[in-house]
Symmetry: C2
Subunit: 569 residues, 2 copies
């Protein structure tokens, strides 16, 4: 199509509210426009990119025997009540009522809907396994939508659900899915994707992370072995050595001590010898949960939620709570709280903790000696230099990443709750085992842009670029140039090449900066200067290739270059 007719404005200035490059470039390049916080309309270039990505995803889902379906955006709340998520989902779930006061929700995911779709179908073991997927709008009322398509409130998602009769079968299919995801991310041009193992409680889960500084998620990577894990759930391993001489517990006055750093300086202790207390509250009844962890470590809220359920939030400590903020410790702590211990505190002595008295701490604490039966669990966040849970060396590196895909062996959570059963070979009722698999498509586009851009605009991989060729006619008022460019345009279209053709009477500056913003991988320029040599210029958007070729050979050379770029993806 002609660029002159392409709807959407392109402009130079980075909009003030754009914190990351992809967001800024996709606004500046006329890809999208914000309608409300976290809600965007797509112009044609973005729609074209998205459709190509959708097609790649479809091909890979079909290749592993996926069946495309469509589940509605608007769902009866009753389905979510069946699964128990209506209460649990929190404020991201948007509820509404229809004209008859019937409660509905906007789907933020479709586990309930897919179980509803197949629960009559899947009544015999012979029907299994099967996998359904869809590419459908999701709505999540994010507390803080940001970074354009990275965290939006309405977004397009590929979600897939597989159903199995055995965990072995799920495991096998899960591996296939893993490979399909690797293919998808490779084909759309995400260069470095890490399949980080994660966990929600006991179930296997992988997060496909694009390692990038703008990411809000963190990955733990071992520099010595192939361990890659979601830093939120990666096992935190610490080596505690007890001192040979165990001190007695002792109350010490610690005036004006407000932080662990203050305390360590005051008592000349390393952080490893201190307790940190982190307080949460249950959403359901406001009960307090006090979690003790070694002073140099942080709590992973994901691990805490995997242990306690989602019913938890950071606490607001009231005066009548009996809790002494800043001086909380496990010894002589009042009863009535849920008290948890991270395993970094196991096998420790001579520790310092709060004394539950304002301006006082204990030293010489040995929790197992002083507090009786104590259970330890893994609540700590892994950190740079931590011990790798796989190879055992101090080789963990923490990187930021954008979560582009998830795979989760969700098991029978939904089928059990929603009463989906099949008869097995022995005629016994069983709940099928599910796997869930998601890719956020808008976030993927933004990530591809983060991965492939320069300061002038995106550099789209040819597999998903809105067009393959950007044809510039410099000085269209020059009849000779215009004739050559027009002919080339027609020829390229005849060869089924997707061309955006700029024959506007604008300066080369505007022409090229618009081309940069549209990021089409192959640029072809017809200009008076080239015409003198009877040539056109052919270049890649990233400038790595730039040739002058005779006009007669242009179509062939362009097709060669397109094929070369395709082969590289």
């Amino acid at each position: 199509m002609k660029l002159e007719k392409l709807v959407g404005d392109r402009f130079k200035e980075m909009p003030a509210d754009c914190e990351i490059e992809s967001h800024g470039l996709m606004i500046r390049g006329g890809y999208m426009k914000q309608v409300a916080s976290g809600i965007y309309s797509s112009y044609t270039p973005l729609r074209r990119i998205t459709r190509k990505i959708e097609q790649i995803i479809r091909e890979e889902m079909d290749a592993i025997d996926g069946q495309e379906v469509q589940l509605p955006v608007l769902l009866p709340a009753s389905l979510w009540e069946e699964s128990g998520r209506y209460e649990d989902a929190g404020k991201e779930l948007l509820p509404l009522k229809d004209r008859n006061n019937g409660p509905l929700v906007l789907a933020m995911s479709h586990e309930e809907a897919v179980v509803h779709l197949v629960r009559e179908y899947g009544q015999s073991y012979a029907k299994y396994p099967f996998m359904l997927y869809q590419i459908q709008t999701k709505v999540r009322d994010e507390a803080r939508p940001r970074n354009g398509l990275i965290r939006a409130r309405e977004f397009m998602m590929k979600d897939a659900y597989s159903f199995h009769t055995t965990w072995e079968d799920l495991n096998e299919y899960y591996s296939k899915f893993f490979e399909a995801y690797e293919k998808i991310f490779k084909r759309v041009g995400i260069p470095e994707i890490i399949a980080a193992v994660s966990s929600t409680g006991s179930n296997m889960c992988h997060k496909f992370m694009f390692i990038n500084p703008v990411g809000e998620d963190t990955v733990a990577l071992c520099s010595e072995c192939d361990y890659r894990a979601d830093a939120e759930t990666a096992e935190s391993i610490v080596e505690n050595k007890r001192s040979e001489v165990s001190e007695e517990i002792k109350l010490v006055h610690t005036p004006d001590i407000r932080t662990i750093e203050d305390l360590c300086r005051f008592l000349n202790l390393p952080k490893e010898k201190t307790y940190k207390a982190v307080v949460y509250q249950k959403n359901s009844n406001d009960d307090y949960v006090i979690l003790f962890i070694r002073g140099d470590l942080d709590v992973s809220e994901t691990k805490l939620k995997n242990y306690l359920g989602d019913d938890i939030r950071p606490a607001i400590i009231t005066e009548d709570s009996g809790i002494t903020p800043g001086f909380i410790g496990p010894y002589n702590l009042k009863e009535g709280y849920t008290v948890l211990f991270d395993k970094s505190l196991k096998n420790t002595n001579n520790m310092c903790s709060g004394a539950n008295i304002f301006d006082y701490h204990y030293t010489g604490l040995d929790v197992e000696r002083d507090c009786g039966n104590v259970e330890f669990h893994d609540f700590a966040k892994i950190k740079d230099g931590s011990i790798c849970p796989k190879c055992g060396r101090h080789s963990i590196k923490i990187s930021k990443g954008i979560e582009l895909g998830t795979m989760l062996q969700i098991g029978t959570k939904y089928t059990e709750a929603m009463g989906m059963q099949y008869l097995d070979k022995e005629g016994k009722s069983q709940c099928p085992i599910m796997g869930c698999y998601g890719i956020g498509i808008g976030r993927l586009v933004a990530s591809i842009c983060e991965a492939h851009h320069d300061s002038y605009g995106p550099i789209w991989p040819i597999s998903i670029a809105p067009w393959q060729v950007h044809l510039c006619c410099v000085r269209p008022d020059n009849l000779e140039v215009k004739k050559v460019a027009d002919k080339l345009y027609e020829e390229l279209l005849k060869h089924n090449i997707e061309v955006i053709y700029d024959d506007r009477n604008v300066s080369t500056g505007v022409m090229f900066s618009d081309a940069d913003l549209l990021g089409v991988p192959v640029r072809v320029v017809a200009s008076p200067r080239n015409m003198k040599e009877n040539c056109v210029e052919i270049a890649t958007r990233d400038k790595s290739i730039s040739l002058k070729v005779p006009v007669d050979e242009a179509v062939e050379e362009i097709m060669n270059l397109i094929n070369k770029l395709k082969a590289e993806v």
Copy 2:
């Protein structure tokens, strides 16, 4: 793919809640499942049909220079306040609030959103004309969802919006669109589509009606000329002849007269000599609107709304209203109501109307003589045998139809309300003129099914069929048959033919009834009987073609048949 793996149940019994064939067949055939009233999930066969229709629509939209965009389902209420529709839209518009209490709506159409998308872009006349379209979910909270995808609450729609600087330009583009719609309906296999002229007030509008008895809309067709119109807005022409002798107005006692039929019998009058009064109320202030029309005619609420606006509903007449139901007439009617006259009452005398007194009527009424200055407007529904507004003969036939597409010259309604302006060549600010164009895709699928089915299932046109070939292997336990069928399956896939392959060990009865329900246009049967002759059977779903061909020639014959069917569409 193998039918054995196709998710979805097929069954024999027409579900009790299905009133029309397409609804029943699409439930029975495993095409969709109801999630809530008017909300459906699609299984794979329906998703495949829908995607093919979407692709046909895309091709035709692109061919008239449409640019595909995507507008969100979730819109801020403020956009709808700008256009004035937030109040007017009524209960079909679903409102909701986000976590910060921000008012949102679920898009039932996207005029506001598209104007929002382009109002900065379209600031110069040089940018015009342009057309944007999308294929996107719509939500309308219908009072009475019914007939499956014919009237759903959530549905997929292709909506398009063109922007112009002159009405001439819009008219020209509107004609192009008209042709594109004709192509689309032809390509998807809707046999008889009527482009019925309609009107919303003064603007040109067409409704593309599929003539079918299950339709809820009505079309007025002239049997003598090419006049085709939406029966709701078609001009009603009546020939009134005044009697030569004008009677005086006279109060008559009409005890126990409750209907016009009673009245005509009691006074020995034809219905044409009576007044009918229809009472409405304004939604905004409950004021009464009394509409008088000739006793043999009905009111078109569409015409009434075009005249008065959407702020109107059938009245509930209270005792203190001063209105005497059953005996309402224009003479001696109390003041304080909006009183309207249909033009069927113009130039009439010796009429009978209610007397606004219980059990009394007037005869001898000449409204222009007795009630002073009276204005007449066209509020009557055209009916069978009415005068054709084009050729003037009594040749109107009323048919039922399903509204599949609309085209509307909506003008500056939205651009004016939302402050979208461009500078014309003289540097003067103008509001662009819009055209809006919609096709409901789910309703289209259901209509194709209504048009093409027998009692055993749908007969999908090849252009949109979920698969092109349904391959049946009868008696797969017969190794010879199975080998031939397997090989044929592989060969067809190699030739890029879409095949659904049934090699289940089921009876031929089940096999063929499933094939009928899936409605795939070409059926190929390998069976022990055919194998004796080294043949397979090739037949069309509608049974019009049925051949036995040697196994070696099967692929070629199948491809020939597919091409023949494609050429017919």
